[in-house]
Subunit: 156 residues, 2 copies
DNA sequence: GAAACTAATTCGTTCTGCCGAACTAAAGAG
DNA sequence: CTCTTTAGTTCGGCAGAACGAATTAGTTTC
């Protein structure tokens, strides 16, 4: 491998690290702004990705004790972010569902990042965008694996 | 703009969002594993990027009260992550410096993500990598701006 | 060199969030 | 039908971390 090539790879690592830092900052800023703790954001994220879940499920995803999940859901419900629904099949269970209206109300926080990303895309050809898409997708996969290797298979 | 083009851009947004989610998970996993809270990680990150800072500085970056920063530095010092140094020019001040050895000791947590990113790079031509690098760099910038727009210019 | 100001710390208090244990309600097993 | 198990909640207590106010030490201003 040429040294030019090596420094190209080095540069990818550097920029990836920078983006990663900024990403964390951004998510923290959004959570702070909405008055959500890290666990609360995490739980909302799982609900957004997986649909309604039971407190039991959230016990696993959040790493909290059952009592703590009850309190957490109470807090989210109080903020209007979430609703408790009776489980259709098992009357002991409860489904926690994201309030889509409330989530949508937070959309303005995303406006700038979305619109400037779209604008960024304009600079690239279709082929280049395809490359970027593939790279981002693979990076997401490998980041997921990396997180799992640290945490153990569950929480990720 | 063709609809094919539009769906390409949509795909960039989607993959970027996925990567962003995984990135947050990854950083959370690392912090948990090292027994660091979100603020503690944040402070360490600033120290890594900006070099030694005073508690006063950290007050601004962390958003904590002075008393809380003292306690936070105590905790980090207790974990061996950080050292208090006398400020060369002003004896009232203190410089908080990252302990590089301790930071280096955490490197194994990054091994997988780094090595698999390097492996991912092998799939691309030099030109493609240049495109990726540019995209990541711009994405980092725009993410930074977005965070600043939410938080206000300080904390980001 | 006295007065005003600034950096960091200490102290006591408060708040937040998590937990274990006990409890209620519902489902499943024998 | 009774016994056991499971889901979720309530309650009391506890620990970590944040804060304001007071304190100490050093710097700046006039």
């Amino acid at each position: 491998m040429s040294s030019e090539r090596a420094s190209l790879v080095e540069e990818v690592l550097l920029k990836a690290r920078e983006l990663s830092t900024e990403t964390v900052m951004f998510h923290t800023a959004i959570a702070d702004q909405r008055g959500l703790s890290a666990v609360e954001s995490k739980v909302c994220d799982y609900l957004a990705r997986l649909g309604p879940l039971t407190p039991k499920d959230l016990t696993g995803y959040s790493g909290l004790a059952p009592a703590s999940v009850t309190a957490l859901v109470d807090r989210l419900e109080g903020k209007g972010l979430v609703r408790r629904l009776p489980h259709p099949a098992d009357r002991r269970k409860v489904l926690i569902e994201l309030d889509l209206a409330t989530v949508a109300a937070a959309a303005p926080l995303w406006d700038h990042i979305v619109s400037s990303t779209v604008r960024l895309c304009e600079r690239y050809t279709d082929e280049q965008l395809a490359t970027v898409i593939e790279f981002l997708g693979e990076a997401a996969k490998l980041t997921h694996e990396s997180a799992e290797m640290i945490t153990g298979p569950l929480t990720g």
